[in-house]
Symmetry: C2
């Protein structure tokens, strides 16, 4: 396998924070619009599910055709996607293929927990714009969370004997403890809060008091209470499934 550079991973994870924050802010300009999350509340012939799911499925069908999901850092939400119409590219294999995909959980949590938290309640009729924004957030969250596979592999490569021992015991709690660095996490939360406060700031023309499109602590809480814990769950699952082999780097 190609070796993983922790600095590259770190840089990508930090840049993904902007993508997630921008996407959440873009979604939050529209109201909750619960209709788009209720199965078949908007009837679409030949489709069974909610409107956001429909737009996600159609988008993934395009992206599958341009080979998005042949990349190991991309995970589709939907099944039965069409094959790529472009020839395959030769990606360096950097992680073990484990089939981990927690997008079912991500979709549920996003639609029914995050959306009511960040959007104003009610219905403004902007169903298409809201669902299009949903697709962008969902794809960004999925990429961020499944990046845990790369993080876990790089940690294994840094301390193969430590992790091999933990993996062989199969103790998920111990593995989670080994992966956890409180100080690094706290730095991340601080950075996310600063980004949320900067990028989510309303910029008027006068000296009005500062207003935010989404309260910064809501975005920090989202990282603290959900994104980071589920990412670490992906890391643990990945290590348990990858096995203890020191893969050739």
């Amino acid at each position: 396998m190609a070796p993983l550079q922790l600095d590259d991973l770190r840089e990508s994870l930090i840049r993904q924070e902007e993508t997630i924050i921008f996407a959440l802010i873009e979604r939050a300009q529209f109201k909750h619009n619960p209709t788009i999350y209720r199965d078949n509340a908007i009837e679409i012939q030949g489709f069974d599910g909610c409107f956001t799911r429909f737009l996600l499925w159609e988008t993934e069908r395009i992206h599958a055709r341009v080979r998005r999901y042949t990349s190991p850092d991309e995970h589709p939400f939907c099944d039965n996607l069409p094959p790529p119409i472009l020839p395959p590219v030769d990606c360096p294999q950097q992680i073990v293929d484990t089939d981990i995909n927690i997008n079912v959980e991500i979709f549920e949590h996003y639609c029914y927990r995050i959306i009511p938290e960040i959007c104003v309640a009610g219905d403004d009729g902007h169903y298409g714009s809201s669902a299009t924004a949903d697709v962008t957030v969902l794809q960004a969250l999925s990429k961020r969370i499944h990046y845990g596979k790369f993080v876990a592999e790089s940690k294994f490569q840094q301390s193969p004997s430590v992790y091999a021992r933990l993996i062989s015991t199969g103790d998920a709690t111990e593995i989670l403890a080994a992966l956890t660095h409180r100080e690094v996490e706290e730095r991340l939360y601080k950075r996310v809060e600063l980004k949320a406060a900067t990028y989510g700031r309303d910029i008027g023309e006068s000296d009005e008091p500062v207003k935010f499109k989404i309260a910064p602590d809501k975005i920090t809480d989202l990282y603290r209470q959900w994104i980071i814990p589920v990412t670490k769950q992906v890391e643990v699952d990945y290590l348990l499934r990858r096995g203890t082999n020191k893969v050739n780097t």
Copy 2:
């Protein structure tokens, strides 16, 4: 026709600045990738055009099906889109139907003038991500620029006799002069520069000198040299085509 509230228009235009700036910043994380703008450089069976155009076309096909282009503030880039699969909604008619659509010009200007300006030169292989980001920027620019129709209609409604006289002379230069408010424009450029500087700021952990994802003056220049002039061109064209009737409000 339903009356236009200038405050609503203004609020929407100001909010669209964020959407455009976020979308440009998202695109600029990838290199120029000129391959995606060269017709058939990426061969796709049954499609004649560049890769970004292909993704735009496929996206518009989905959006047409969920009736995006039945809304008077949305304009497709592509022809021969499928009909909506959802029943029509009753939009209040706020502008006269004029068939103005300058997306050909917007597409060309974006791909061949804006992209080389905001992206680092070269090829990083992120074709799918770049083209997906392109679609978001193109849709945001198109919406902003064609909003000129609403702005022009509201100005007509504010001073119908002034504009009726100008329209009857057919003098585009005079109409442009009447629509132009230097002071308002200068306030807009200042606000855009402040937004670009705030939202485009790199946020590190230490006291490094401030870095930007896109230099703020590039975004201000884009507004000053292109977005505002072409929006005003849409406004002039709209007024010339709408005629001089005081439509019932």
